[in-house]
Symmetry: C2
Subunit: 301 residues, 2 copies
């Protein structure tokens, strides 16, 4: 089944120990869409300025990502600039120019309103709620968030948690939200807000999946070099949610585990190059091979 | 087969967010011995002062740990004092009084010299080499080290690596030794010093096993509360090496993986209380149950 994703499309300027790029394609909804497109059809809602290069839209469409909901408005596209130093798990933001993203009001095209798999990428939780109110029969809803909203809009975020099935956040956000240093405690506390599943991403240390009935820990794929971690979390979410949408059934505990591993696989490819460069050449065969490798590196008899 | 362990026996004073204790039984060889004793016979070489409580020796002997090589000399026992604040992965050392440990020269009793499984806990790498030179037919040799020796005795430590089979160190030490932020690269670089296996411990993030033929990643057991992480690394090593010594054969890749998980299981119990408190009441049944749980939390079909 197809997915709706609402989030940001951006132009990023990034410096890592291995290189530097200016105004490259980025944004949470971009990474999510591209990653999920390896599993199912994706319908995008986002906003860009009239400076946004047409080739980027063509790139998304080449993966059959529906861009009907991608608004182009007068002004500049959202720009983010950041760098990574020793700790490749954490970006240092150099500048954030929201531009047209500042007044973004997600408008869900009529043709999207019956979509059953809904992913709310990291935007203001009030807007995430507004998106949900426009959807007619969502079957599985997942969301991401970030430190900013936890700090300034915790009541809205808390309300959102009671309306969604899955929260996918990183370790720092989980600790901030729950004020708990233990991620194991944090995951369980977040579950208690009414969620079915919580996924905590830990960068190079892998990810944790919490549900009422179980717990799953997956390592990260053992890469010798991380070229650029930007978008890894959104690419993870795309693989995770794309896999579940492709299944199109009430996921079992094992389905969720497989989804986490597919998320990790997609993220591991994404960090091998800037922007979508690595995903652009990615094949289903490569995804499958790395999935099998994941089985091998975690297996003991 | 039985194990020789050479390391420290200490009296620790520890403060964690959950409590505080003074002069409790600690030391690398203590934690290692006690943990390994659940798998095989352990023969200890260490030194204590004449202030060392006899009840601690009785405790070790109650686990059939051979204390023939535990020297008691005039003076005070090695004392370490540390605290854990927000980051339970890292102890802040408040004071280190080497006392009788400062002039410790490991003397291997005649009855120990034919032992085939040798574990060199964290002591001066020159002393680790001296211990090896006293052993007649070691079959499997593993060692630990620490930041101090990497900083001030890197040539000695490097020489040691060519004489042992397995190095077990933590993430910070691996990064410091190789000057590589990537643990995946670090593990491979250390292997190239002539080792068969390298285990990198990552505290709450689990551990990584490197060998020429493969790679294995194990999560940490999902504990909601870590009471006191002191000795977790040595307890891990005791479970890991104890398991291999019990097998008493050339370990396969899968044997090594099982050994890592046994190490993780033992460490997970150890951090549930101060000193050896939790291990004192531990049963083989509990070890087996947690081992199975490890399989469950990492498994996907």
């Amino acid at each position: 089944m197809s997915i709706l994703v609402v989030g940001s499309v951006a132009l990023d300027s990034i410096k890592t120990p291995l290189g530097e790029k200016t105004d490259i394609l980025g944004g949470s909804a971009t990474y999510f869409s591209y990653s999920a497109s390896f599993f199912t059809k994706v319908n995008l809602v986002a906003v860009v300025g009239n400076d946004f290069p047409k080739e980027h839209i063509k790139l998304l469409e080449s993966r059959k990502i529906n861009t009907e909901g991608l608004q182009t408005v007068k002004g500049n596209t959202f720009r983010w600039s950041g760098c990574y130093e020793n700790d490749m798990n954490e970006a240092k933001t150099l500048s954030t120019c929201l531009n047209v993203f500042e007044t973004f009001k997600p408008e869900i095209p009529e043709s999207y309103k019956n979509i059953e798999y809904v992913f709310l990428a990291n935007i203001d939780p009030d807007l995430q709620m507004e998106v949900l109110s426009q959807m007619k029969k969502p079957k599985l809803i997942a969301a991401d968030s970030m430190n900013l909203w936890i700090k300034i809009k915790k009541p809205s975020l808390t309300k959102l948690l009671s309306k969604i099935d899955i929260l996918i956040i990183n370790d720092g956000e989980a600790r901030l939200f729950t004020e708990q240093p233990s991620l194991i405690k944090a995951g369980k506390i977040i579950l208690d807000y009414g969620l079915k599943y919580v996924v905590i991403k830990k960068g190079e240390h892998g990810s944790l999946l919490f549900s009422k009935d179980g717990f799953f820990a997956a390592p990260a794929y053992p890469l010798e070099e991380v070229f650029d971690p930007t978008g890894a979390g959104d690419t993870f979410a795309g693989g995770f949610f794309g896999y579940l949408a492709k299944l199109n059934k009430k996921p079992t505990d094992n389905d969720l585990r497989r989804a986490v591993v597919h998320g990790s696989v997609m993220a591991s490819f994404n960090v091998e190059d800037f922007s979508l460069e690595r995903l652009k050449t990615l094949t289903s065969k490569e995804i499958e091979t790395r999935y099998k490798k994941f089985k091998d590196i975690t297996n003991f008899k």
